[in-house]
């Protein structure tokens, strides 16, 4: 009898043999590893599902084989209960519902339990057909109910909006139920047939719906625990383990019918409840939106390995603020192709002047820092380069140029990075800016910033000069299109009027969204900034 390569997971149709652990004549027990295969997701061992003796090994190391390919021929001592191949993988963590970053969306159809123990009857669900394809139309049937089929034998042809393709049987057996007919529209994940597998075939791994644990500490149970009667392995379509999305039964039903993952829908009713209108709006948006900048398929992210295998580890729950930072940065990273333009500004005179004024100020006055002066330079430059003070509305096809100048200042706090915003920075005097910045920074450090104080920014300044470093590439504070990073200023030898003189140089690192701003403008902006920084009188007059 042949033992074939079982299903390895959603979207995986082939693998490479890397390591063969048995040879002809070996006695083998169910659960024993026969060989290892490598897919583009992971390496996994393939255990035997039978007790028996190896008659013939049908593959060799390096072979690229498809699911269903015979691996070994054996004579059996008895057929053990089918075991899923390496079911210890978990699907990749997808970002929480606000993020448009793509995650390989699992088939939202409620996963019917694989008919467990019912002899060898197994439900065959329409497998993933390709990125962005969630179903198609049955063109023609190649078998009838009751037919015996071989592994890989075509069951029917399906037409998607990309192509027509045959759908083969994953294993050999008898088609005890054919649940589809020609002309029918079917979806990925839908049960298309029930096949009574021949003895010796390993059970296909049913693609598990996402069973992620979020970092929230307040979890509600999804199902009323007046003893839920579910005894099999499937989870409700709203995902077990996660707090359920607030949505009434009719709304949940509509979501289920339309294949909408409730976790992706923003709820407009009080308390974040998702309404039927929200679902309709969500579906409309998905249908009319042109391909998002993130594309319809990012890279497939492999699951994390078990780190504790390699040494001791400590697990800390991710704080809300860290989670938000991670979300925002992931969005910015995915959405905007960014370039960082580096430059050096000669702040020898500016710094000298600043120090002199600050030393002469009465105690307790808010300090005039380089960041404060940078705000002045930046707002002046933004007025000359309005593109840098805008945002891009891709679906709307608009660039939104803001006629106000609210500058966010990145503040490092114990809990993480926060960006309070100073509104109308162009209209405020240096003294006023210094005072407001000092107050906001203090509030940030003592966790007293309000949400409003962190909103509305048009440009961000991040100054690491106090910390160190020569230069860095800041990440955009989406949906802004530019951010100015400053590193530690240092005395450098500079050629000035034919002589080499020590000048205090401030590294400027301007990251900008290249969808909106071209390279030349990026350089012009930093040149202008450097110009303003290098001459205090010019800064005074032109800002």
């Amino acid at each position: 009898m042949d033992f074939r390569l079982p299903e390895l997971g959603e979207g995986i149709s082939e693998a490479t043999v890397v390591n063969i652990g048995v040879k002809t004549g070996d006695a083998v027990k169910a659960g024993q590893m026969l060989l290892e295969v490598e897919t583009d997701k992971a390496s996994m061992p393939i255990p035997a599902t039978f007790d028996g003796t190896i008659v013939n090994v049908r593959v060799k190391s390096g072979d690229k084989i498809k699911v269903g390919h015979p691996l070994v021929e054996y004579s059996s001592a008895g057929v053990a209960a089918p075991a899923p191949a390496n079911a210890s993988r978990k699907p990749a963590e997808a970002p929480a519902k606000a993020s448009p970053a793509p995650a390989p969306a699992p088939a939202p159809a409620p996963a019917k339990a694989v008919a467990s123990g019912g002899g060898d009857r197994r439900e065959f669900k329409l497998p993933a057909l390709g990125e962005g394809i969630d179903g198609g139309t049955v063109v023609s049937l190649a078998v009838n109910q009751g037919d015996t089929v071989k592994a890989e034998q075509e069951l029917f042809t399906i037409e998607t909006d990309k192509a027509s393709m045959p759908v083969p049987s994953p294993f050999a057996g008898v088609v005890s139920e054919l649940k589809i007919k020609a002309g029918q529209k079917i979806s990925v994940g839908q049960v298309v047939a029930v096949i009574a597998a021949s003895a010796g075939v390993a059970a296909p791994v049913s693609a598990p719906p996402p069973t992620q644990t979020t970092s929230r500490s307040n979890t509600e149970t999804a199902v009323a625990t007046v003893a839920a009667p579910v005894k099999t392995q499937t989870e409700p379509s709203n995902g077990a383990g996660k707090p359920p999305v607030p949505a009434g039964p009719a709304t949940r039903r509509l979501a289920r019918d339309m294949g909408v993952d409730l976790y992706e829908v923003a709820g407009s009713a009080r308390g974040g409840r998702v309404t039927i209108d929200d679902i309709k709006a969500f579906v409309k948006k998905k249908l009319t939106q042109p391909a998002t900048p993130t594309g319809s398929g990012g890279p497939v992210i492999p699951p994390l390995p078990d780190f504790s295998k390699y040494g001791p580890i400590e697990k800390k729950p991710v704080s809300n603020i860290r989670r938000k930072i991670a979300e925002n940065l992931t969005i910015a990273w995915h959405v905007a192709p960014a370039v960082t333009q580096f430059d050096l500004a000669d702040i020898t005179d500016l710094e000298a002047g600043r120090k002199r004024i600050v030393d002469g100020m009465p105690k307790g006055s808010p300090k005039i820092t380089m960041t404060v002066l940078a705000m002045k330079a930046v707002t002046a430059a933004l007025k000359e380069f309005p593109n840098f003070n805008s945002s891009l509305d891709v679906p709307g096809g608009m660039q939104i140029l803001k006629q106000y100048y609210h500058v966010g200042i990145a503040v490092d706090t114990e809990r993480g990075l926060v960006v309070p915003v100073i509104r109308d920075a162009d209209k405020k005097s240096i003294r006023e800016l210094a005072k407001e910045l000092a107050e906001l920074a203090e509030k940030a450090r003592t966790n007293k910033l309000t949400i409003d104080e962190m909103r509305g920014g048009t440009f961000t300044i991040t100054n690491l000069g106090g910390v160190g470093g020569t230069a860095f590439s800041p990440i955009l504070n989406y949906p802004e299109v530019a951010i100015l990073g400053m590193s530690r200023s240092s005395l450098q030898p500079v050629v000035k009027d034919g002589a080499i003189v020590p000048r205090l140089m401030l590294p400027l690192c301007l990251t900008y969204d290249h969808r909106v701003i071209d390279g030349a403008d990026g350089a012009r902006f930093t040149t202008r900034l450097a110009q303003l920084f290098s001459d205090p009188i010019r800064l005074l007059m032109e800002s």
């Binding site: 159809a109 339990a113 123990g117 002899g119 139920e177 005894k231 379509s237 359920p244 039964p249 308390g271």
Partner: protein, 476 residues
């Protein structure tokens, strides 16, 4: 007696609150269906020997008690005389019989073919044998098993004496015993005890665990227990009935517990220690349908058994053994058969104990929240502050709400008091809709009603309620 040999697209086995709604829904949607039921009257245990007769008799008990309490209002009733024959006949004909006929008419009117007084057993995965009023075989494409459950009768109590009864026997009201032992302080034992106590029987309840109604939160049981202790002769907790013995003087029960007499004699004993699934003797071994170790039929979210074309619903498919769960599952099962994307995943299944006062709860209980480490704020509204409760002279009740501490989303509601059972549906809706306290607090509830206690509990989540000052939060 008639003999048939039929083929049907859908066979429903069992005509109780799971089976007959399934058959009706299926027929409404164009599926030809045959409904086979073992009894002469449709409605299963619920109609014939469970929910319905017990609630009818509890109503009578309530009338008797209210007549007694009328004394404090200045209305004097003489002690009632109970015509047991008339009571039995009324329940049997005007209540049970009426509903049997009602269900029969519904089935007839909507095209369900009904075969009564007949047992179906599986011959294989696609056919059953019929025995009883109708014999023969039925071939089916799909089947829904809704055979329900039966009272558990441990061997120690199965002594074959009619004075040792299960709930079926007790609700048939053979007589009004002078003294009755109730083994098991769950909802069945307490409801039946309430009926008999009102009719004059001295009731002794023996409960193995340390509290009545083990699944309910303690603060809800407390007011009920206080009242039961007034009406019952005794309630023994942490006590076991080791055995029962038939004697001419009565049934002698051996008790094991603290401060409990070693043995006592009773005219009748009710064994109410639970129910078990009715899955034996169905011939399931001739199919691929698997049972678990307790005899339940495991099903997936669509109610399919290990044979994809055979579904199971109701008590036989698992806990909780509640009629409304069976009815809800019936809808899911039929929708699944119709090819819709249905699943049985309710967020709250309410539970009601129809004692006096009633207890009702939905969503998570405090006990469950603690076990599962779910954070909650608890808001309790004592009925001492309810105007309506005062007009009824029944201030012992309590309405409590468990909410998520951050979002104030309603996680669970528990009520003890008269009419709790009628009030809990609002809580189920709130939990299913993902309501937050504000949703309930801002919904105007009529005055003077007991439903205001639900609204005011929600108000407590936001600060003070109209009739209760800012509460001491019992948060975790």
């Amino acid at each position: 007696m008639s003999e048939i040999n039929s083929t049907t697209p859908l066979l429903v086995i069992g005509g109780g609150p799971g089976g007959y709604p399934a058959a009706l829904h299926a027929a409404d949607h164009g599926i030809k269906v045959i409904l086979v039921d073992a009894e002469p009257g449709l409605g299963g245990v619920c109609t014939n020997r469970g929910c319905i007769p017990s609630k009818a008799l509890l109503h009578v008990a309530k009338l008797i008690r209210e007549a007694e309490e009328a004394e404090t209002w200045g209305v004097h009733f003489e002690k009632p005389k109970v015509d047991l024959d008339k009571l039995r006949a009324h329940v049997q004909q005007k209540v049970i019989g009426k509903l049997n006929n009602g269900i029969g008419m519904l089935c007839k009117g909507r095209g369900v073919e009904v075969i009564k007084g007949t047992r179906a057993t599986f011959l294989d995965s696609h056919s059953v044998k019929l025995e009883g009023e109708t014999t023969g075989t039925i071939q089916f494409e799909k089947c829904i098993i809704a055979t329900g459950s039966i009272p558990a009768m441990p061997k120690a109590f199965a002594i074959g004496d009619p004075r040792v009864m299960d709930s079926t026997g007790a609700l048939a009201m053979p007589d009004i015993p002078k003294r009755m032992l109730i083994v098991g302080g769950g909802y069945i034992g307490l409801e039946i005890g309430t009926i008999y106590a009102a009719l004059g029987t001295k009731i002794v309840v023996v409960e193995f665990t340390d509290g009545l109604l083990p699944a309910a939160d303690r603060d809800l049981v407390k007011p009920l227990e206080a009242r039961l202790r007034e009406h019952f002769e005794a309630i023994h907790l942490n006590t076991k009935v080791a055995g029962v013995q038939a004697t001419p003087q009565g049934i002698v029960a051996t008790l094991e517990g603290k401060d409990v007499p070693a043995s006592e004699t009773f005219d009748r004993v009710l064994i109410s220690v639970g129910r078990r699934p009715n899955s034996a003797g169905l011939g399931l071994e001739k199919t691929q349908v698997k049972l678990d170790e307790k005899g339940y039929i495991p099903v997936d979210l669509q109610r399919c058994t290990s044979e994809p074309h055979i579904l199971a619903i109701g008590d036989v498919a698992g806990e909780p053994g509640l009629a409304h769960k069976a009815t809800a599952e019936a809808k899911v099962a039929v929708e699944t058969l119709l090819g819709e994307r249905s699943e049985f995943s309710p967020r709250a299944i309410p539970a009601v104990v129809f004692t006096d006062p009633e207890i009702a709860w939905a969503g998570i209980t405090e006990r469950e929240a603690k076990e599962q480490n779910v954070a909650y704020d608890k808001l309790s509204f004592p009925w001492a502050a309810s105007g309506r409760a005062t007009t009824l002279g029944r201030n012992e009740g309590l309405t409590k709400m468990l909410v998520d501490p951050e979002s104030k989303r309603i996680l669970g509601v528990g009520i003890v008091g008269i009419g709790a059972g009628e009030m809990i549906a609002e809580a189920v809706l709130a939990i299913e809709m993902g309501a937050v306290s504000r949703d309930l607090a801002d919904s105007i509830h009529p005055h003077p009603t007991l439903s205001e206690t639900v609204m005011e509990s929600a108000e407590l989540a936001l600060g003070a309620a109209t009739h209760v000052a800012k509460p001491k939060k019992v948060a975790r």
